[in-house]
Amino acid sequence: MLTVRVQEAAFDPAAESAALAAGRQDVGGIASFTGICRADDGLAAMVLEHYPGMTERALEDIARQAMRRWPLTGCTVIHRYGRMLPGAPIVLVLTASAHRAAALESCAFLIDWLKTSAPFWKREEFADGTERWVEAKAEDEAAAARW
């Protein structure tokens, strides 16, 4: 089972997790990562822009790659776009497998990959009215390169 969604609306991790386990008895573990908008340095809001069409294709490609590299029973990737207030969940990765190592590793792989290869761009808006585009981090490239 492979689910990929790019959406403005919030997501429901509990419902997504239940969907991965529903109707099957070979799921031994579900790993998840939820990325949340932090309020660093007086951040008022974060605006996520993406490349409609390419984003969906890229997310589906990488989710399929995770399903091939690890013995997963399912994989869910949901990434939001639009305006996020501090505390808002932005991205959800869920991986299900008979064995915990496959679920945990593929979850880390997917989130590392999303940071460096999904066509999203973040703009930060601050309480004082200034704004700035978030710059890509060398450490994110390094994290993705280990896979």
Binding site: H50, A58, K115, T116, S117, A118, P119, W121, W133, A136
Partner: protein, 83 residues
Amino acid sequence: MKLLYFAWVRQKVGVAEEKLSPPAEVRDVAGLMAWLATRSPGHADAFANPRQIRAAVNQDFAGPTALVAANDEVAFFPPVTGG
């Protein structure tokens, strides 16, 4: 050719999307960026430092030597910051 711009590339160029017919000597992503930089002060500003810019041709990431053709969709943007 359909051109798409995202993030600060879009802000500097001033439009999110345009349809253009580059001359025949524009064969690859690097050549396209050089040609686009001549089209307006906004384009010139956006493409002033091509090394800060990433590209996708027909929705696949593409390096400076990737070929571009008349019916392609070519996008320019800063390094991605999703996740």
